[in-house]
């Protein structure tokens, strides 16, 4: 096993809302190895973005609150850092790309001004050097006519181009960890593939670790080494990419798996979707959070929350792979 760059232990990020306490991220642990890509999958609202914003120290408080846990980055707990220290880490050691390329760039500054800003914040460069480096970065992310684009405003670029700019901005200070929060969701399919390929290529070149957040297992298959599946603020399965695609173990994971269209599928065959919806925080089931939608749920699932435990060389949160399951099915 490689060296751990980031290790999250028992992270709890809660929101105090008018309707009550929302445990958006509830006791989540995982790690990212140096030079590897961890994929995080899950339906909308399961806490993927909040997990990454917690790492960046960008959760709004209030209403948010980090109620517990540790975020160890290069061995140091980010939750103990001052705002000042976090600022020198953000953008420099940990960079982030967001879901919405259309709105993530500031409309009143040029691409160049925004790139230069990041460089000047973290590197000891003159304005001229920053400009050269910025243009070099635009070329690296394969933006045609980089010099010209450099002085243009975001609205003059297409969504795919803007996401490339975001990637250039994220990578310009050679971060150790790149967090991509659904970087391709808002883009059309051909552009999606190009962006993923670009991220992969740059990762190979720079040795950056990547956290790839998505709700699309297809994206995971493209880029990830390890996969973490989240459901309602908790990790339900954590395995290598090969393991997951060979044999998904958690019922939710194989539910997700059946949602991916396959090329050899008969056109008439309908895509299966997971019935029901993610429970909202104010009617969370007492037992397994997935049990209202789980085709295999048994009595024990409704009573107790299963633990995340090891099974067949990976971590799964489901009674099916425990001794209790045998016992309860014999009753």
């Amino acid at each position: 096993m490689g060296e751990k760059l980031l290790e999250v232990q028992g992270l709890k990020t809660w929101f105090h809302t008018d309707a009550g306490l929302s445990k958006a991220v509830n006791d989540v642990s995982f790690f990212v190895e140096k030079g590897k890509t961890l994929g995080i999958v899950g339906e909308s609202g399961c806490g993927k973005s909040i997990t990454s914003l917690s790492i960046m120290g960008l959760v709004q408080t209030p209403p948010g609150e980090i109620a517990g846990g540790k975020i160890l980055f290069e061995g140091e707990d980010l939750l103990e850092k001052t705002e000042e220290e976090m600022r020198s880490i953000r953008g420099k050691k940990i960079a982030m790309i967001f879901q919405e390329p259309m709105t993530s760039l500031n409309p009143v500054f040029t691409i160049g001004q925004q790139l230069i800003e990041t460089l000047m914040l973290h590197e000891n460069l003159t304005k001229q050097q920053a400009r050269e480096k910025g243009i070099e970065m635009l070329k690296l992310v394969k933006i045609p006519l980089a010099e010209k684009r450099f002085d243009e405003y975001p609205h003059q670029l297409s969504g795919g181009m803007r996401q490339r700019v975001m990637i250039a901005m994220a990578l310009c200070c050679s971060p150790k960890l790149l967090i991509c929060d659904e970087p391709t969701t808002a883009l059309d399919v051909t552009i999606q593939a190009q962006i993923l390929e670009l991220i992969n290529e740059l990762k190979e070149q720079t040795g950056t670790s990547v956290m790839m957040i998505t709700h699309d297992l297809g994206v995971i298959a493209e880029v990830a080494d390890d996969v973490m599946v989240m459901y309602a603020g908790k990790v339900v399965e954590h395995a290598t990419c090969d393991q997951i695609f060979e044999k998904p173990m958690h019922p939710y994971t194989y539910g997700l798996m059946n949602c991916i269209p396959k090329l050899d599928d008969d056109d008439t065959k309908e895509l299966s979707v997971i019935e029901g919806m993610v429970p909202s925080f104010d009617d969370m089931p007492k037992g397994c959070a997935f049990c209202p939608r789980c085709p295999e749920a048994m009595d024990i699932c409704r009573e107790k929350m299963p633990k995340l435990s090891e099974a067949e060389g990976r971590m799964v949160r489901c009674f099916k792979y425990t001794e209790e399951w045998e016992e309860s099915s014999h009753e």
Binding site: R90, S104, L105, P107, T118, L121, H122, Y153, M169
Partner: protein, 310 residues
């Protein structure tokens, strides 16, 4: 940018012509015969007719309008029926006073209102936010003359540190500009807060934070430049209002500005003076709007370079 400016300038000329026509028509239909008022009781029909002829009031309307327009282009609106002062001279004299008052009131309002609005937005939901917002409501809703009288009592009579009337030194303008600026400070604080809050929730603000930008830079650079776009519209219009003179404030502080000129012109049916004043006010608004639109383009590249270019 050049073609945009040219286009806006063209529109401006058009608007001014339209306003001159409306002004002319309205002044023909206002009740009360200026000549009769001028001559008071001594008026006999013959003299009235004679004077109407001298003033060109007996000419057909389109000729009168033509004469009015011809004069207006040269800023020549004739002489006042009452004071016999040349209208443009009276306008310039009053304008000098009003512009001083307006500039001071504007600087006061912006210097208080905008920082308070930013501060309030940053401290959203905290007690200080509520305090600023309550003060701004008082500023917006308290009548200016009431405010003016309170200021006169405190600073003029009790403390005796500032003059309560007159218009010679800068010190004379302090109380009037505070009284005039108070409501604008309030509305500026409110629009700034709203606009900042809206911008602070945008994705690009999160991007700026994720880069490691400081709180100050996120607020004063990334957020404020975007928030300024709606703020500029409001404060531009506000400045326009201030330049048209405040009748009440001018009355309370005995300042002979545009407001007083307008009141005099109206109560005397002094047609040339009224025409001149109305055209001045229209002109101020048109120019202010033009400047606001051009500053939009300056602030917002999406306008400068045309929308939707991919």
């Amino acid at each position: 940018m050049l073609s945009y400016t040219a286009k806006r300038l063209g529109q401006t000329v058009f608007v001014l012509i339209g306003i001159s026509l409306i002004t002319f028509v309205l002044l023909q239909v206002v009740p009360g015969d200026p000549v009769a008022l001028m001559l008071e009781k001594r008026a006999d029909p013959e003299t009235i007719a004679k004077i109407r002829h001298e003033l060109g009031l007996d000419l057909p309307y389109h000729i009168q309008y033509y004469n009015f327009l011809k004069g207006a282009v040269r800023l020549d609106f004739g002489t006042s029926y009452f004071t016999k002062e040349v209208v443009s001279v009276a306008l310039i004299r009053s304008f000098k006073v009003t512009v001083k008052l307006a500039c001071m009131a504007f600087v006061f309002a912006a210097a208080i209102g905008i920082p308070c609005g930013i501060f309030s937005a940053v401290k959203r939901g905290k007690r200080i936010d509520s305090v600023v917002m309550v003060l701004s409501i008082i500023g917006v809703s308290a009548p200016a003359f009431w405010f003016a009288i309170i200021l006169q009592i405190i600073f003029g009579l009790k403390l005796d540190i500032l003059p309560i009337s007159g218009f010679d030194g800068v010190s004379c303008y302090i109380l009037p500009s505070v009284a005039l600026g108070a409501r604008y400070a309030g509305s500026m604080a409110r629009i700034t807060r709203t606009s900042m809050l809206e911008v602070m929730g945008q994705d690009y603000i999160r991007t700026a934070k994720a880069k490691g930008a400081s709180r100050w830079s996120v607020i004063m650079k990334h957020a404020l430049k975007n928030a300024m776009i709606p703020i500029v519209t409001l404060i531009g219009t506000d400045f326009g209002y201030m330049l048209t003179g405040s009748m009440l404030i001018e009355k309370v502080f005995s300042i002979p500005g545009i407001g007083k000129l307008a009141v005099d012109a109206m109560s005397n049916r002094d047609l040339p003076l009224l025409e001149g004043t109305v055209m001045y006010i229209a002109f101020v608004f048109v120019i202010v709007n033009l400047i606001v639109d051009l500053s939009y383009a300056f602030l917002d590249p999406r306008i400068r370079y045309g929308k939707g270019a991919a």
